[in-house]
């Protein structure tokens, strides 16, 4: 159940891994699409928190090309529906996420990412 909304907020939290530690890179993923309630107000409120480039790149990597490369200023219904789908309906069920900086691998099993660190990796 890793949706792109949380993936877009998630950086590596291993010791001394402070730069270039976002976004975590998906590998060997299995996806599931699950419908969610469309809530335009939530999306508009959430827009400022999004790292747009990371979201678009990740969505494209997972096979969804519906989002424009630049964050649009006009938020029409079609755009919001696409954004809704990318953020809240694509679930990564299996696979892993790798930190681009320290290369720590966070495995995803049964939809749950394992964020536990070994003792020497704790900050």
């Amino acid at each position: 159940m890793v949706r792109l909304i949380t993936h877009n907020l998630l950086a590596c939290h291993a010791k001394d891994c402070n730069t270039n530690n976002f976004p975590l890179e998906f590998k060997d993923v299995q996806l599931e699409i699950r419908e969610a309630d469309f809530n335009p107000d939530f999306l508009k409120g959430f827009m400022p928190k999004i790292e747009w480039k990371a979201l678009v790149d990740t969505a494209r990597q997972l096979g969804d090309t519906s989002l424009p490369l630049e964050q649009p200023e006009m938020l029409d219904d079609e755009f919001l529906k696409n954004l809704h789908h990318v953020l809240l309906e694509i679930h990564v069920e299996e696979g892993s996420m790798t930190c681009p900086n320290c290369k720590h691998v966070y495995p995803i099993s049964n939809g749950i990412p394992n964020m536990l660190l070994a003792e020497h990796e704790i900050g």
């Binding site: 949380t6 704790i122 900050g123």
Partner: protein
Amino acid sequence: MSLSLSFTGHHDPQPLPLTLHSALFTLHSLSSVLALLVCAAIVLVLVLVLVARYYGDAEAKKYTSNTRNQQIQADMTYRALELLNLPPGQPAFLLDIGCGSGLSGEILDEEGYLWAGVDVAPSMLEVALEREVEGDLFLQDIGQGFGFRPGSFDGAISISVIQWLLNAETSHPTSSPPHRLQRFFTTLHSSLRSPSRAVLQFYPSSDEQVQMIAGVARKAGFGGGVVVDYPNSRRARKVFLCLFVGGGGGGGSGSGQGGGKGEEELPKGLEGEEEESARVRFERRRERERAKAKGGKRKAVKDRDWILKKKEEDEDEDEDERGRGRGRW
């Protein structure tokens, strides 16, 4: 909602019998006493490991299906949301710290919040998956800190969890309680939007513990403080850390007139006896169940519990039959 809750009753290995034993054996050589002690220690460790295994799975399910626990957890979740004082009618993205099997998450779903939850117990998260909560779940030790980008969440709640940060897991420096608390509060503070709040209900074992935890939270940059509900009732007393980021910015009823500085006033704890709220509690529960039925998420007749019970019964029956069979043949 960590399952370690269930360990407490079994963790007292009663050192008394051991000293008695050693007293009895003073006539024997020292080495045989030592050997005996070592044996006793090994047996104790084995028993503890077995107990831990057992509780890992079975207790996660039991804890979740105990209605009294459920009711207390639900009450505290509603109260935490009240203390969170989110702007009414505005959607929010929340963090559920120690989400366990999703008891609080279900309420967040019903109240229309989007959320992510973290817990250190895989067996609890598994139950949460089966309950089909909407939030994203993470297997995470909160004492190791969060990796969320700054300002990710509009608020955080935690029900009966952070007292576990006071246990040292190993002798490694990063697992000392002060280090874990500091790591937890610093990374939580940065994951929250400014202004916002984190409301963490927990079970302290002393006032010193409360002061210690609140002190680390303050050092990490949080404002706010401790709210105690029903302080004079032994059973109903509940302690909430009500922490503010950037003044706590209530969008609520404007209860705190901070007078220009923008720091919200700390909410007051509830007074009186628990009994007074009994009516309200059942009303809430009814409402919750009604909302559920309406939402089409009605509990299946043959749900997980039913299937598990059936399975158990079948196994028992098999065993019985085998037993009888042996007798007959």
